[in-house]
C-alpha cells in the first residue's frame, strides 16, 4: 500500500481496492480439486459457494420456506408476485421436485418474456425513451428474442451490428439511443463495452486506466469499429396539416475507412485502428461492425468470450442482488470476481449450451444459494455486501422491487389483471405512463437518468396516496378486496386471504390477533374500512416492497 502513488491513495480514500483484491485471490485459491469437472453446473455452483462458507468460517442460513421462495422466484423470473391462486397452488403442492417444476413453468410463461423484455429495453434505451428512438421497436425485438429463447450471442450481434428502420429492425434502437449527440460514437463505444462485454473503458477515452493496463488507445480502437455508423432521422409531410413532421429513424453504414485520431493528455494527436482483444481488422473492411460482431463470439484463443461472462454476471446479479463483481458491468484485472470459478464455469457452460438464456437462468435459480432464506443469523452476519463486504451468498440478500415489478405486483395482488383490458401494447403503455413520474433525465450525452423510485419519500407518497393504491384498496364491486370481504366466512379466514395475496404467506396467530384487536376500534359498521386499512398497510409494508 505504501508504494502506491500519492494520488491513488487520495482518490481511493484508503486501501479498499487492495483489500478487495486480496479477498478475491484467497477465494480463487480454494479450488475444488480435480473432480470439479465431473460435477454438473448446479452442483459446481453449490460446491464452490459452500467452499467459500468454510473458508470464511460462516454457516449458511436455512433453506427458505415455500412461501418466501415462491414469492421470490415469481418476482425474479416473472417480474411480479404470485397471485393468490398461484401461491395456494404452490403451497399445497407436495411434489419433491416442485421448485424445479415451477422454475420451468415460469420460464415458459408470457410473464418471463415481459419481465426480461422490460429489463433489457431499460438497459438498452433507458426508461425514458430518448428522442427519435422507438421503444415499441426495441421491445418487439427483445420480446421475440426471449419468447423464442434466441441464443444470446445472436441477440448481441444483432444489437451491435443492426442496420435499418427502427421498427422493422428493432435492434437498431439501441444504437440510436446511444447516438443522441454528435460525439463520434463515443457513447456508443462506452455503452457497448460496458453492457455487453462488462468492461468500463469510458475513462480511457481521455487517459490510460489508473488501475489496470488498459490504454487510452484501446478506447479509440474500440471506437474505430463504430465510426461507420450513421443515423438518419427521416421526416415526412403530414398530409392533413401540410407540415413536416418526424417519421422513422434509421441506422445505416456510411463510407468511412482509415484510422481514428485522438488527443493524448499531452496534447499529441495519435491514431487508432479497429482492434479487438489483439485482433486487428482491416481498416478498409466494408462493415467494421460486422467484423466486430464476429470477434465478439470467437473463442479461438481458448478463453470464454466476454459477452458470455458479462451476461452471466448480470443474470447472477439480477437474482442475488449482487453479481460476482461490483458493479456487475465493471469486470477486469482491477476488479477481481468474488467467485471467479463459478463465474467461469457458468460462462463456459453457457457457451456450450449455445447461449441458452433459459438454461442459464434455470441453473442459477436451481442452485442451493438461491434457495436460502433472507434471514441471517450470528453464524453469517458478516456476509453483508451492503456494508461493502464481498458477497458470500450464504443467505438471500434483500432487494427492493423495481418500479415495474411493483406495478405488476399490485395488479397481481388486487386482481386487476382479471378485468382484462387491452393487449400487450395497451398494458405496456399504461405502465409506462405511470412510470414517468419516477424518471428524470440528466440531459447528457450518456443519456442516463435518475429515478425517484429508490425508496425515498416520493415512492412512499405514491404507495400511501396514489390513484393506483386507492384503486387497490377502494373495494369496488368485482375487486379482490370486495370479493374477499363480502363473501361469507370468518375474519381469520379473510385475513389469511389478504396476507396471501399481498405477502404470499399466511399471517401468524399473533398477527391475526393484533389485526382483530385493531378491527374492534372500527366498530361494527366500520368493517369494510378496517379491511381497507389493513390491505393498505399490507401493500405499504416493508415486506411487500422487498424481494426477499
Amino acid at each position: 500500500m505504501n508504494r502506491l502513488p500519492q494520488w491513488i491513495k487520495r482518490i481511493t480514500g484508503a486501501s479498499v481496492g487492495v483489500s478487495v483484491f486480496f479477498a478475491g485471490v484467497s477465494m480463487s485459491n480454494t479450488g475444488l480439486g480435480e473432480d470439479a469437472a465431473e460435477l454438473s453446473t448446479v452442483e459446481f455452483i453449490d460446491a464452490n459457494i459452500q467452499q467459500g462458507y468454510e473458508d470464511n468460517e460462516i454457516r449458511p442460513s436455512a433453506v427458505a420456506g415455500d412461501d418466501e421462495w415462491v414469492r421470490r422466484v415469481y418476482l425474479d423470473i416473472a417480474g411480479r408476485i404470485p397471485t393468490l391462486e398461484e401461491v395456494k397452488q404452490y403451497l399445497s403442492d407436495e411434489s419433491p421436485r416442485k421448485k424445479t417444476a415451477l422454475i420451468g413453468e415460469l420460464l415458459d410463461s408470457q410473464d418471463y418474456v415481459r419481465n426480461f423484455t422490460t429489463i433489457w429495453a431499460n438497459n438498452c434505451i433507458g426508461r425514458r425513451t430518448p428522442r427519435r428512438v422507438s421503444r415499441k421497436g426495441m421491445e418487439k425485438f427483445f420480446r421475440e428474442a426471449f419468447a423464442k429463447n434466441r441464443p444470446w450471442d445472436e441477440v448481441v450481434v444483432d444489437i451491435v451490428t443492426g442496420e435499418g428502420h427502427f421498427e422493422e429492425n428493432g435492434a437498431v434502437n439501441y444504437t440510436l439511443a446511444q447516438m443522441q449527440m454528435a460525439d463520434e460514437a463515443v457513447q456508443l463505444t462506452a455503452m457497448t463495452t460496458k453492457m455487453f462485454l462488462g468492461m468500463q473503458v469510458q475513462c480511457t477515452q481521455c487517459h490510460n486506466h489508473p488501475f489496470n493496463n488498459w490504454q487510452q488507445s484501446q478506447f479509440w480502437e474500440f471506437n474505430s469499429f463504430f465510426r461507420q455508423v450513421r443515423k438518419i432521422e427521416h421526416r415526412k409531410v403530414d398530409p392533413e396539416t401540410g407540415r413536416r413532421v418526424d417519421d422513422f429513424s434509421e441506422v445505416v453504414t456510411r463510407d468511412f475507412s482509415g484510422p481514428v485520431f485522438f488527443e493524448k493528455r499531452s496534447g499529441l494527436m495519435q491514431v487508432a485502428f479497429p482492434i479487438y482483444q489483439g485482433t486487428k481488422v482491416d481498416p478498409n473492411a466494408f462493415d467494421r461492425r460486422k467484423e466486430f460482431g464476429k470477434l465478439l463470439v470467437a473463442a479461438d484463443n481458448g478463453e470464454t468470450p466476454l459477452i458470455a461472462k458479462a451476461f452471466v454476471n448480470r443474470v447472477w446479479g439480477q437474482f442475488f442482488g449482487y453479481g460476482f463483481t461490483r458493479p456487475v458491468d465493471d469486470m477486469g484485472p482491477h476488479n477481481p470476481a468474488s467467485h471467479p470459478d463459478v463465474l467461469e464455469r457458468l460462462a463456459a457452460d453457457f457457451v456450450s449450451s449455445e447461449y441458452d438464456v433459459k438454461q442459464l437462468i434455470s441453473w442459477v435459480a436451481n442452485s442451493v444459494p438461491y434457495s436460502l432464506t433472507s434471514r441471517f443469523g450470528d453464524d453469517n452476519e458478516i456476509d453483508n455486501p451492503s456494508a461493502g463486504e464481498m458477497p458470500l451468498f450464504s443467505h438471500m440478500y434483500i432487494k427492493s422491487m423495481q418500479a415495474e415489478q411493483l406495478y405488476d405486483s399490485l395488479i397481481s395482488a388486487t386482481n386487476a389483471h382479471k378485468s382484462g383490458k387491452g393487449g400487450w401494447e395497451a398494458q405496456e403503455s399504461q405502465r409506462r405512463r405511470w412510470m414517468q413520474q419516477f424518471v428524470a433525465a440528466f440531459d447528457t450525452d450518456e443519456n442516463d437518468e435518475a429515478t425517484t423510485f429508490n425508496g425515498t419519500i416520493p415512492q412512499a407518497l405514491m404507495m400511501m396516496n396514489s390513484e393506483l393504491i386507492n384503486k387497490a384498496v377502494n373495494a369496488e364491486r368485482g375487486s379482490f378486496l370486495f370479493e374477499t370481504v363480502t363473501k361469507p366466512g370468518k375474519d381469520a379466514e379473510k385475513l389469511q386471504e389478504l396476507y396471501l395475496a399481498a405477502l404470499s404467506r399466511r399471517p401468524s396467530r399473533s398477527e391475526i390477533g393484533k389485526a382483530q384487536k385493531l378491527f374492534s376500534a372500527y366498530g361494527r359498521n366500520g368493517k369494510l374500512y378496517a379491511y381497507q386499512d389493513l390491505f393498505w398497510a399490507l401493500l405499504n409494508s416493508n415486506e411487500f416492497i422487498c424481494v426477499h
Binding site: M181, D183, D443
Partner: protein, 446 residues
Amino acid sequence: MPIWNNYGMGRRHFMQHMATAAATLPAVNFLSHLQANAATVKANNKACILLWMSGGPPTIDIWDLKPGSKNGGEFRPIDTAAPGVQISEHMPGTAKVFKDLSIVRSMSTREADHGRGRYFMHTGYVPNPTVTHPTFGSVVSYEIGRSRTALEIPSFVSVGGGSGQAGFLGMSHAPFVVGSDGRINNAPTDDAKKRLPGRLEMLAAVESNFIKSKRGELPEAHKDVYKNAVNLMTSRQMAAFDVDKADPSFGLEAETEETKAMYNPAPGGGAAMGMRGGNGFGQSLLMARRLVQTGVPFVEVNLGGWDLHQDVFNTLSQQRLPVLDRGISGLVTDLKQRGMLDDTVIVWMGEFGRTPRINQNTGRDHWAASWSNMIGGGGLTNGQAVGATDADGVRVADNSKAYLPGDIWATVAHAMQIPLNTVHTSKRGRPMKLANGGTPIKELLG
C-alpha cells in the same frame, strides 16, 4: 381538523397506540412542531443552495474567458462589480452582484465521465464500488438537519433530481426530489389524511415482525422514510414548495410578480427552452429561497442542458446564459434584500468543465483538468477570483493551487459552521473525513 378523531378513536387511545405499538411511527407529533415558532429556526439558520449544472458547463465561456487565445471562443469578457474580476458578456446581471460572489478558477478534478464526475463533485470522493459516499447535501442534512427539530419537511431538497444518495448516512438523509414547479406528486387528499392514523396503526402492526427478523437494513430504512413522508404530508411547511402560497407562521408570503420577475428572463429571452428546464430554473431558485426561509439547510437546484458537444456559442448566448444570469442575480439580490445572504452559501458547479479546444462541430467536449466553480454568499470574503488557468486554459497556471471538490465543500462546511474534523463511519466501520479531508480555500475565509 383533528387527525386522530376518526372511527370513534379518541386522541388518547390513538396516542397510546402510537407510543406502544409504534414508537417507530411518530405520525402525529406534528402538533408540537407547529407550535414551535420561527425563532427556533432562526437560531441556526445556516444554509447552502447548490446550483447544479447538469451536463458539464463550459466555464471557459462563462467565468474564465481567454480572449486572444485560439481557445477563446466567441465571447468577450466584461468587468464586474468586483474590481479586477471579469466574466462573460452574457452574464451582465451576475456581473452587477459580483461583490457577493467568487470564482475558483483552478479546479482540477480528473473525472471527465458524467456519472463519475457527478459523484465526485457531489461527494468529494471518487466512485468506489464497495461504498456509497453521501452527497454533500446528505452530510448537511445529517449534521444540521437533525438538530432542526421544528423542521417537518426534509432537510435536503433537490429540485430536479440527480443529486446522488445518502449512502452510509441512511435513507432519511436522501435528497427529497421535487420538480421545478414544486408540485408534490401523490400528496394526500383530505380523506387520505383522515384515514392516516388508522392505517399507520395497521402498518405498525404488520411491519414489526419483518423488522425484527434479521434481514438487514432495507426494512429499517423503509420505516425511517415513511416517518419522514408522514411528517411531510401533515405539515403546513409544505407551503414553502408553492411560490403562490402564504403561511405567516413561517414568515412565508405569496411571491409577488416583481419577485418572480427578478429570477426570470424577460419573456422571449430563454423562454423557448421549455422542457429543458429553462424557465423552471428561476422558479426553482425562488422555491429554494422559500425552503431556506423555512429552515431547510440544503437545497440543490438542477439546471441541465450543458453537454454542449456542438453549437456551444449559440446555445449559450441564446438559451443557457440568459437563464443562468437572471437566476443567479435574482437569487443573490433577493437573499441580500432579506438579510439572508450572509447565512446562505451559494455553490455553482457541474460534473466538469469543457475542452478549451473547440471541436469541428463548434462544440466543446468533456474536460476536468482545468475549470471553474463559483461560490458566494455565506459570509465568505467574496468578490474575487481564486486560482488561475494558463493562457489557453488547458491547465492550472504554474503559480496557482489546484482545487478539488473536497476543498469547495470544506469551504461550505466552514461557512455553515460544521466542524471540519467531523468524521463519519462507513457501514464497514471505516472512518470517512468530512469532504474527503478537503481544506477550506483560505482566500475566501473572512
